[in-house]
Amino acid sequence: MSDRRTLQIKQMSAHPGPIAGDGVQRDYDVCKLIDTTTCIGCKACEVACVEWNDMPFSATTFDNTYQTMPETRWNFWNLIKFNEHQKEDGTIQWLMRKDQCMHCADPGCLRACPADGAIVQYTNGIVDFQQENCIGCEFCASGCPFNIPKFNPTTKKVYKCTLCSDRVGQGLEPACIKACPTGCLKFGSKDDMKFIAGERAHQLKENFGFDKAGVYDPESVGGTHVIYVLHDATNPEAYGGLPSNPQIPWSYTIWKWLAKPVLGTFALLGLLGVGLHYVMVGPRRPQPEPPTKEATNGNRG
């Protein structure tokens, strides 16, 4: 990091009070566009990710497909999910989808996280884990609809794709984008990427007969900073389990919002209750109570 902070934080997990970086600098939302229709499954992005982030060699798991391993790992953040999809007419279609953190505008991981500053969202929309603040509870994994945060049992911290925030902060594109040979990966502002994705989906419909082609940018998490062009946007599940309606559990939205008043009520009612009882009713003493001073002096009956 340079002496000037290149990325300002606009949202921080479990942080009471305002966020120092919120609204300080002008910035626009960044976005990664993944066109699944032009992905050839070469896995150059997987290698580039491992290379740039200095992650160790990771053993692959062969399961009779072209997929490197079943799901992403704490030291393997970028995985091409492969699915041999049988269409309605009986023909076979190979679906390749680059799986990684979606960088949701409303991140479930950040909402679920109980550790102050362990998950942050920059003003450009990148969601980043700050491992030095992570307490290793894995609630983020429960909050994430995309099964992305992965736990390292040795360091007891959680890791995931950073959208190369270190590169983006210096004005570079993410490593995976740089490595992609077909141009199916693009990086730029959210508005630009949405425009290109829309054009491509339109092209797929008009020229290639993919009637259900569309853009995946789920509103249920406020939109994402990684968007897909799909041949069949009505069935994202076919693309290695992309959820059609990703949801953040209400435990981390409604209940977390309720937590403070509910705890306050319980604590206040408890303290007030016993305090008022002591003042208004007084303690119950073993009977008979010893006579008061006045009574023994004969001042009262």
Binding site: P249, W255, V274, H277, R284, R285
Partner: protein
């Protein structure tokens, strides 16, 4: 409960009576033996450790207040489940120890109907059929038994995390775990108040193990009769007469 449990409790009580001692003076009765007191304070210790480490994680506003007690958030998260395990373990032993006197009876139902008179101080003496524990204590005891079950089940799910039990189970457990803790938090205020300044003379039952006879005939008349063979009401009236004259 089976006799095996009773044999186990008896053995434990004898063993602990050899290690610790009860201080019972003239005009006093032994209320809690060393074993019971040991379990009580271990439960209390684990409860507060779990409470403070847990509430730091529960609420962002408390994170920076409570987690430093345990050496930071990561250690608080690491130790909280262990505090919980020991809490459940010691309370489990206490449950075996107390399952007999904690059994709910018809007298307890009548006590509960009359609870208003006791809380607002109208009834200075407990009803004559109140035994070793009153119905209020029994409600709290069984609440903690239920709470321990909830803590244990949801706690293991939260401990292992989403990659073992799935997102949904963790999200649900998170809420149930919190609610169980909140109910116990409410209960602990009443418990501490009643056992200290709310009913003077009670606290020593858990320190040196003894209570005065007047405490016993006031709050637990049926137990008083059981251990002394004298009628509580009569004993109280005699004492009142002595004091008056």
């Amino acid at each position: 409960m089976g006799t095996a449990v009773e044999r186990f409790d008896d053995k434990a009580r004898h063993a602990f009576d050899k290690i610790g001692r009860n201080e019972v003076y003239k005009g006093e009765l032994l209320r809690h033996p060393v074993y019971t007191r040991f379990l009580h304070w271990m439960v209390a210790l684990c409860f507060f450790l779990a409470l403070f480490s847990g509430f730091g994680i529960y609420l962002p506003w408390l994170f920076r207040w409570f987690t430093p007690i345990f050496g930071g958030g990561a250690l608080a998260r690491e130790m909280h489940p262990w505090f919980g395990i020991f809490f459940v373990f010691f309370f489990g032993l206490q449950t075996l120890n107390w399952v007999r006197p904690m059994r709910w009876t018809a007298a307890d139902t009548r006590w509960m109907k009359n609870v208003r008179q006791i809380v607002n101080g109208k009834d200075k003496l407990d009803p004559p059929e109140t035994g070793f524990f009153n119905a209020g204590q029994k409600v709290q005891f069984w609440e903690i038994v239920a709470g321990c079950a909830v803590f244990l089940i949801t706690g293991i799910i939260l401990w292992e995390g989403a990659h073992v039990f799935g997102r949904f189970a963790v999200a649900v457990s998170y809420v149930l775990h919190d609610i169980s803790a909140l109910i116990m938090l409410g209960g602990i205020f009443i418990h501490i108040y009643q056992s200290t300044i709310g009913e003077p003379g009670t606290f020593e039952a858990m320190t040196r193990g003894a209570v005065t006879e007047s405490w016993a005939w006031t709050f637990h008349p049926a137990w008083y009769k059981q251990v002394t063979g004298r009628d509580a009401k009569q004993a109280y009236e005699e004492a009142a007469r002595r004091q008056g004259g």
